[in-house]
Amino acid sequence: MSQLAFWRSGSTRVLPGFGLSMGISVLFISLVLLLPITGLFGQLANLSLAEYFAIITEGRVVASYMVTIGAAAVAALVNAVFGLLLAWVLVRYEFPGKRLLDALMDLPFALPTAVAGITLATLYAGNGWVGNIIEPMGFQVAYTWVGIALAMAFTSIPFVVRTVQPVLEDLPAEVDEAAMSLGATDGVAFRRVIMPHLWPALVTGTGLAFVRSLGEFGAIIFIAGNMPYETEITALMIFVKLQEYDYAGASAIASVVLFVSLALLLAINIWQGRFVRRLHGGKG
């Protein structure tokens, strides 16, 4: 009993295992996640500031940022629309094959990226199932910028669907009933009543899709064509530098990618935290 009283008085920690779980978690995070990042900084320390800037602002590398960011932005926007449509249909309607469609949504997460890569490249190449229909019509997807955006969109679609879906499910029926009974049309009611509830989740999902697309590698390199200045993504630039044993160059570019993705991740987390707090009346 005295032991119990001690637990109660000092803190709210009734349950055991604080020390053990803290030990395992901190040890693991330090060794697996944080320690390797020091290797990157160690490598960067060998570069002067001028050398560092020369590497990360080299023409071919800058072109790869443009290709990556541009394609990722297009992919994220397409996914925002497509993802919203899919989430809406999966939550609001009953139809044959709904279960299957729902299961299919996770395919891009479950399918290894290299498998997605060679499959998309084969489908959209000039002699592929899709390529031999669209290329005579003048649309070239494989080995162009469009192919990169397509591969990015494929790998990141679940982020939008799976972020919007639960929010839409939790929306009570009274919300649209009220709007409809007051005489709003579907379009107006959707824009003015549903969207304000949905857009925090939509922005979060689209943001996650964008971050994922910036770093994607396996799904893209097969369909990209990898032409310097035109269809080279930044992740490939790092890979090319490594194959030339230019570790300093690879590290410099990697540090840019790492910084941008961690900054975006942090921004999304803060944004999400704020929106959750607002929904729960400041208790978050």
Binding site: W88, A110, A114, I118, V193, S251
Partner: protein, 275 residues
């Protein structure tokens, strides 16, 4: 009462658009994998799969996944227990740190391990003088696989354990159960399905990881080639049918993952309906 988007035309239009786009965008690639793999018949598919190098790649891939899972499992459960059962300063930071592997490009993940444990890194150079090689060998593959897969179990458990709260465990402990008994008898039965799904996701990603592994593996055929690297080599050698045979095996694992997820969700919804 009518809800938004209930008009038959709107409804049919939206369902039709969703089905058509999903069929073209998601289903068609899936069908194409198997069509390509079997395009020269079952015998050729089988010859491609039972080839020595493919078998070695399958073996290595499975061994890496089997070693990754228990490590991620222990970490995931410990972290979920820590952040859902206790409140302490730095809790939010831990939850953000665990997302790092999702945000970091797989190529960058491979690179940071190569820089640290490769021959020129500060740990790698020490290991080198003791004749221990981690990079361009299976331990390197294992290390980066753990890096990219470690969030899955924790990510599945944290929301569930947060929602369930700690009342049942507190009751068990106050009634005199030891910490381990409480965990095995109270916590584990409550989280087993989420745990299982976390393991399935960890396995799917471990088996399929490409970017990070391609940086640290060296891709030596018959030695450090995992299945995704093996299919890349075959594809670059213009052996598309061979590449798609390996791809079909990986796609099969992906399909099993989706089926398991659907099954677990169906179970959960049925339980909800009964309770």
């Amino acid at each position: 009462m009518r809800r938004i988007g209930d008009a038959p035309i709107v409804r049919r239009l939206l369902i039709g658009a969703a089905l058509l786009l999903s069929a073209l965008f998601l289903l068609l690639p899936l069908v194409a994998i198997f069509a390509q793999a079997f395009s020269q018949g079952v015998a050729v598919f089988w010859a491609n799969v039972s080839n020595t190098f493919t078998l070695h790649a399958i073996g290595l891939t499975l061994v890496i996944a089997l070693m990754t899972i228990p490590i991620c499992l222990v970490f995931g459960v410990a972290l979920a227990w820590l952040v859902t059962r206790f409140s302490f300063p730095g809790r939010r930071i831990l939850q953000t740190l665990i997302d790092i592997p999702f945000a970091v490009s797989p190529v960058v993940a491979g690179l940071i391990y190569l820089l640290l444990y490769g021959r020129n890194g500060w740990i790698g150079s020490w290991l080198d003088t003791h004749d221990i090689q981690l990079m361009f060998a299976w331990p390197g593959i294992l290390m980066v696989t753990i890096f990219v897969t470690c969030p899955f179990v924790a990510r599945e458990l944290i929301p569930l354990m947060q929602a369930q709260g700690s009342r049942e465990e507190e009751a068990a402990v106050t009634l005199g159960a030891s910490g381990w008994t409480t965990f095995w008898r109270v916590t584990l039965p409550n989280i087993r399905w989420a745990l299982l799904y976390g393991i399935i996701l960890t396995n799917a990603r471990a088996v399929g990881e490409f970017g990070a592994v391609s940086v640290v593996s060296g891709a030596i055929r018959g030695q450090t080639n995992t299945l995704p690297l093996h299919l890349e080599q075959l594809y670059q050698d213009y052996n598309a049918v061979g590449a798609f045979a390996s791809a079909a095996l990986l796609a099969l694992i992906a399909l099993l993952t989706l089926a398991a997820k659907a099954g677990l969700e169906w179970r959960a919804s049925r339980r909800e309906a009964f309770s």
